[in-house]
Amino acid sequence: MSALSATIQEMFNEPGCAKNANKSDAERKKGCTKQLQPGGAAGGCAFDGAKIALQPFTDVAHLVHGPIACEGNSWDNRGAASSGASIWRTGFTTDMNETDIVFGGEKRLYKAIKEIINKYNPSAIFVYQTCVPAMIGDDINAVCKAASQKLGKPVIPVNSPGFVGPKNLGNKLAGEALLEHVIGTQEPDYTTPYDINLIGEYNLSGELWQVKPLLDELGIRILSCISGDGKYREVASSHRARVAMMVCSKAMINVARKMEERYGIPFFEGSFYGIQDSSDSLREIARLLVERGAPSELIERTEAVIAREEARALAAIERYKPRFAGKRALLITGGVKSWSVVAALQEAGLELVGTSVKKSTKQDKERIKELMGQDAHMIEDMTPREIYKMLKDAKADIMLSGGKSQFVALKAAMPWLDINQERCHAYMGYIGMVKLVEEIDKALFNPIWEQLRRPVPWEEVAKNRQTKGMARMDAQAAEVAADPETSRRAKKVCFCKEVDLGTIEDAIRSHGLTSVEAVRQHTNAFGGCCKRRIEDILATMPVSSPPAMLQAAE
């Protein structure tokens, strides 16, 4: 574990991270991760982060060493897409039981690796460490080393048990595993001056394929994508790329920086979300490639493609502008992507009423201010309750967020669009932005919203009935106040035959009745359900004169 904590400490010293560079030594030592709040935390663990980062490698078997929870509860839950192999979607786990906890799980792990190679023969096996085997001291590095040697297949330990930190740390630990055991271990069949690496791109919903045709058109080859639709051999030989693009996220900054350090591959941080960003990224790739020796005509060709694509996309979005006039959007997402999406939404004519900046850096915030103006509503941390209130008060017309907060919007009968990793639509590049705008349009103008927000008619009817009833009672009360005796006597005793108190009292008094039976004979009262009430009246009435006398008098 000491090796692992050293790796983690090293990560906190990451010089490539702008946030880190601004910290004091003492602050840096504490690490970048906020202490997790028990009972108030949300989000994945380091193991989750490592698996997210590496699982898109399609021809690799991903073996999770741990009890059933880690893989059994989570496998096949990512929307990454593969152009070929499907072994990455197969769930492999050692499913440790009580005996393994007592005697150690190393033997089971070794056997599991052997079984996978015999049955599935993948290009490589990535072995993920989890909390329980880490606690009992299973040494996965040693098992993987022995297995690699004996079985002649790359077996890569990914040392990232869940309890060392959050998802983001896991992304970086996954990167360390690649740097230590994979990158630079093989050579590509051939190289070109147009070879690039994409780092931190996961090909969710196949969105990389929205951009790849443009790169293909320009003759730019993705030597390795870490890790979307990636193959083991590609990442193993990725050290021969000319340029790297760190896609959209700082999650794997350690990989980008160390590859620059070790192999001299310059990198830049870019994004393919939004029209402007896509253009900027293409330009930067071309510029860096030319700098590293590619023919300079690449730049002209790139500009031509950019001009064509921008014109096409803007024309497609233009149609939506009148429809979006006056519509307001609320953007709640993992911060880093905020500004690129903000720009795209503004291009489509949406007004942004707020954007989250929880995970954004200072520069990100500056860019948001640039785009949205000085009084941009930047949301540091908003509880679901606050979001719900904001939507319920109709301060926004649509919310764009990750899957976890979707129900806050939907249950407020408010349009919502998924823009995080679980989504089923691809929003990358120029085509992707048009797609995003289309989806927003579909969500905003779906006829369900009007129906769902309408008051329920039968609740109105019920309310009216209640109001009428109340009015009647009020009227009766007023009558009682005016003439207590009349209204007292008007009270219904028998509801079936509509006989009132006065009639019954008169009958009892005039005929000297003493039984319910007698009352029934002299009045219309039925004496069924009202039997008890008539008995009560008989009990309270003074027996004025003996009935025999009256009868005789008659």
């Binding site: 574990m1 997790l36 709040q37 028990p38 009972g39 108030g40 935390a41 949300a42 989000g43 994945g44 663990c45 193991f47 989750d48 073996l63 009890p67 059933i68 929870a69 880690c70 059994g72 509860n73 989570s74 496998w75 096949d76 839950n77 979607r89 197969t90 769930g91 492999f92 786990t93 050692t94 499913d95 440790m96 039981n97 009580e98 393994d100 906890i101 599991a112 690796i113 079984e115 996978i116 049955k119 909390c131 329980v132 880490a134 606690m135 048990p161 869940g162 309890f163 060392v164 930190g165 959050p166 679901p384 309750r385 209130k389 899957g403 976890k404 129900f407 249950k411 407020a412 009968a413």
Partner: protein, 468 residues
């Protein structure tokens, strides 16, 4: 009579099983104003949460004690205390349900002891409902976590009635297994109420995860059975337990409050529902409403219409024991052959499944058996989708999780009506499969033995031909 076997492999491939703690947390989701809390690292919660959200398409309350590596070494008291206080202050729940995980069971946290200490330290929590269940990940499965948790709820929350206290003859406790959906619970509620009975469901997922739209936003469960109603369950006249997993909870109820119970291991199928309806008629003293006579007729007719399609089918089924027993028995009674059966954890019902062998295994085992035994109908949860695509046989999704279709919370299988729906759905899959993939061609019945050509590996061709 089936023999239950466990394969001797080191690596589970395409797991069928899910872990015990999230089964426990799931049970807590059927209580009103509840916040389930997993005592473990935050990933334990996050994975479970994602799974529930994908299945129900609903907001799901689930919290974590966020154990770090250091906390794991030092013991989790502080994390449990902080988590309870944070949830108590922020979410204002009516109850917090705590399940342990592999991490905190391995380091041996004494959560029951912690809770005692926390109640002493914080007087506002002295009487606050806290239920703890021990659910290590490395033992048992989802269904066991649910069963244990409901038994714990009974032990902690149900009040023993005063000596000589009168029982409410109309009141009935229902302890549903985790294989029933919110839709199933609503169906059972209607049936019981039609007999003039007043059911209390523990847990009541129909109140919390049925997809209704609450008036206000709440961070806890938006419905379910209230703690006060659970306390009064000891005054009921009967307990109905559904699924063998609920025996433990039903026995706990009887031990604590003397309420007798009747266990219904199955509620899908004609005969099990006849028994169920007869029992309700018996305890309520009311004749069976005309509605159920009609529904029984409809189910009988559905069986007549569907047996042409379901009869003789070779079924491969993977599910947790109670669901496996229920569905496979129903289809067995429709003439299907249970050809491959895989489950997650031991249970007394397994040996009564109408097949030779039940495997405690994974979806790789199920796929392999289905392939070698030429099964032509697959039933399991959504994780079976990859196997179904490879096997190219009709696939009926049943159980948890069902994340690649919508309406999982309302898939009905109990009662005459629920059984009728399941039969129709499965028969329609079979019909669609025949129309799409098995239309006869001029060569369908030609003997497929190809002429032996020199130079080809004719031996293998011939062998394959004769098998097919």
């Amino acid at each position: 009579m089936a023999i239950v076997t466990t394969p001797k492999k080191a690596c589970a491939v395409n797991p069928l099983k899910m872990s015990q703690p999230i089964g426990g947390a799931f049970a807590f989701m059927g209580l009103r104003g509840a916040m389930p809390l997993l005592h473990g690292s935050q990933g334990c919660t996050s994975f479970g949460l994602t799974l529930f959200v994908r299945h129900f398409k609903e907001a799901v309350p689930l919290q974590t004690t966020a154990m770090s590596e250091v906390a794991t070494v030092l013991g989790g008291y502080e994390n449990v205390e902080k988590a309870i206080l944070n949830i108590y202050n922020r979410a204002k729940p009516e109850i917090i349900g705590i399940c342990s995980t592999g991490v905190t069971e391995t380091n041996g946290d004494d959560v029951d002891g912690y809770i005692k200490l926390i109640r002493e330290q914080h007087p506002q929590l002295a009487k606050f409902p806290l239920v703890f269940v021990s659910t290590p990940d490395f033992k048992d499965a989802f269904q066991d976590g649910w069963g244990k948790t409901v038994a714990c709820m009974v032990e902690v929350l149900v009040e023993a009635p005063a000596v000589g206290a009168e029982r409410d003859p109309a009141r009935v406790n229902v302890l549903p297994g985790c294989h029933l959906t919110p839709g199933d619970l609503d169906e059972l509620r209607t049936i019981l109420e039609d007999f003039g009975l007043k059911p209390s469901f523990l847990p009541d997922l129909a109140g919390s995860l049925d997809g209704h739209i609450p008036d206000e936003f709440t961070p806890t469960t938006i419905g379910g059975i209230g703690v006060d109603e659970v306390a009064g369950m000891g005054r009921s006249s009967w307990t109905i337990a559904i699924g063998a997993q609920m025996r433990r909870a039903a026995e706990a109820m009887q031990a604590k409050s003397g309420v007798p119970f009747r266990l219904f291991e199955r509620l899908c199928g004609l005969i099990p529902n006849d028994e169920f309806i007869a029992f309700l008629s018996d305890i309520s003293g009311r004749p069976v409403p005309a509605k159920y006579r009609r529904q029984r007729g409809q189910l009988s007719d559905a069986m007549l219409d569907a047996h042409f399609h379901v009869g003789g089918r070779k079924l491969a089924i993977g599910a947790e024991p109670d669901l496996l027993f229920d569905l496979s028995s129903m289809l067995h009674e429709m003439g299907a052959q249970v050809t491959a059966a895989v489950t997650t954890t031991p249970s007394p019902v397994l040996e009564r499944i109408g097949t030779k062998e039940v495997l405690i295994g994974d979806l790789e085992d199920l796929e392999e058996l289905a392939r070698t035994r030429n099964c032509d109908l697959l039933i399991t949860h959504s994780h079976g989708r990859q196997a179904a695509a490879r096997l190219k046989i009709p696939f009926y999704r049943a159980g948890f999780p069902m994340f690649d279709r919508i309406g999982a919370g309302h898939q009905l299988s109990v009662g005459y009506r629920g059984t009728r729906d399941v039969i129709f759905n499965i028969a329609n899959l079979v019909i669609a499969d025949r129309e799409e993939n098995h239309q006869p061609t001029p060569d369908s019945w030609r003997t497929s033995r190809r002429p032996l050509k020199p130079g080809r590996r004719s031996f293998i061709d011939a062998t394959e031909g004769s098998i097919a």
